[in-house]
Symmetry: C2
Subunit: 330 residues, 2 copies
Amino acid sequence: VNVTVIGSGSWGTAFARLLSVNGHAVQVVTLTAQEAAELAGTRVNPRFLPGVVLPESVRFVAVADADLDDSEMIAYVVPTQAIREVAAWVATRRSPASLQLSLAKGLELGTLLRPSEVIAAVTGSPAAVLSGPNHAEEVSRDMPSATVIAADDADAARRLQAAITCETFRVYTSRDVLGVEFCGAAKNPIAIAVGIADGLGFGDNTRASLMTRSLAEVTRVGIRLGASVETFAGLAGIGDLVATCTSRHSRNRLAGELLGRGTPAAQVPALVGQVVEGIPTTYALRDLGRRFGVDMPVIDNVFEVLENHRSASDCVGSLMKREAKTEFGG
Amino acid sequence: VNVTVIGSGSWGTAFARLLSVNGHAVQVVTLTAQEAAELAGTRVNPRFLPGVVLPESVRFVAVADADLDDSEMIAYVVPTQAIREVAAWVATRRSPASLQLSLAKGLELGTLLRPSEVIAAVTGSPAAVLSGPNHAEEVSRDMPSATVIAADDADAARRLQAAITCETFRVYTSRDVLGVEFCGAAKNPIAIAVGIADGLGFGDNTRASLMTRSLAEVTRVGIRLGASVETFAGLAGIGDLVATCTSRHSRNRLAGELLGRGTPAAQVPALVGQVVEGIPTTYALRDLGRRFGVDMPVIDNVFEVLENHRSASDCVGSLMKREAKTEFGG
């Protein structure tokens, strides 16, 4: 299969490597010609995926030079807020038969649309989604991982599964595009909340409680949107939540940890060094909660910390002290 | 409230401290008079809870010298396989009005009964259960934690909640005694599985996938038993699962890690230094799965490792390579 991977961050690079190892012809679209030349020359992405050597068969091409004529699969591995612009670029170039796949985990600010919705609106064709507990640092080292591909068209999902699955990267399929994609977005603000608690010096009990209460809160919103509840119990739900909230690889958790230690929100993205999807997604989720009248105490508290309305310790303290009698309902 | 805590392991000691800080009169029942004298003299439990000073108001008494005449609450904080013997001791001594509460996390071998079922059968009175993400090392240091108390009698649950909850240890109530107790038991074999993967050097993606697939598998059995599905999504379910599978405090995860590194199963309990509830529970869960005809690949693989039928790497490998098409059903 001829594949185009758009984006050369850590996940784009690891995903391109995975597909190449699977025997596909892969081109990676980079932002600049200089970046494409460096990656092609060194076969290493020192900024985003240090220590991983990329197969000779992976080609790198700048967006200004790339064409999509032969691409049977187009994977979007770019920040969520760039999806619209990238989709517009794809729309005028792609072959109508190509499959589109989004690996972005977020919600578009303002519209509150999921990446696959933006792609479908802009290109006029559906996009499948891939989401799960998949730290690029581990996938690129062939450590066993599993993931979910969801598509409205079951045949498209099966074709993507067949191209991507292998012994160390198991792909499961789902029909719940909305749920899988919503889970992928929602876990990032939760990871920020968990990171804040970590940064304040709280322990594993606090983290586990916070993850549980947060999952319940985003599940309520997801179900109002139309997600299937079982998706939240699966790899794209708690699987990715666990991987993100408990791993040293997670930049969203790290962003929270910096906030918990008192770093001003404005300085966090630069210190993390990569896009922190959970920051815009916190704003988007808060808007969604308000639209549906769903109480979101964890998301609201992350928002307060990001906006410097209250201190991190104030916010986590108020979360842990919330009055509650029964765990469910009431 | 006059409280008797039976058991002076890490959780018994931490729980006694918590109740004492909450203003209750607490006696801890130890196995030997020597242990009672040492704890009373030093106010420290160096073997199970080093570094935590116990309030002067906590009394320690050996089982041979203890009476339960004034005890309004009796907490069982002993290994699951000792519950029947302890309940028989309690049965002849307790006041009929006393509330019984089990903190044990396991299933009785042979009968496959939950601790509260054993207590009810032996004493003729019901027992409430307390379960959640509660590492003793953190609760005893007043790090924010949350938990669930479940009882058939809602009034008993509320009375226990009122006695135990405080700012740093939030108690939620539930009516799903079976579900809360089953979750507490089931997470320990899962933690062994996760520890095995850790010991083999696998990463955060593998761990998250394994936790997700394991939770799905024990949820199927729990629902067949009559547990409520939402309990699995709560503090006693994924909350405790996360705390146990990702914490350096968990002895079950540590037991798995030793197995993953090739330590013979017979040597593991001595190396861990405390009871590893997940080992007997693996056998009990496997029996339960067979009774209900539920496929339990993770539990079966932990059993194989414990029985030295196959190597740890063989077992985890076979789990990750299992053929599966869709995530749910099929």
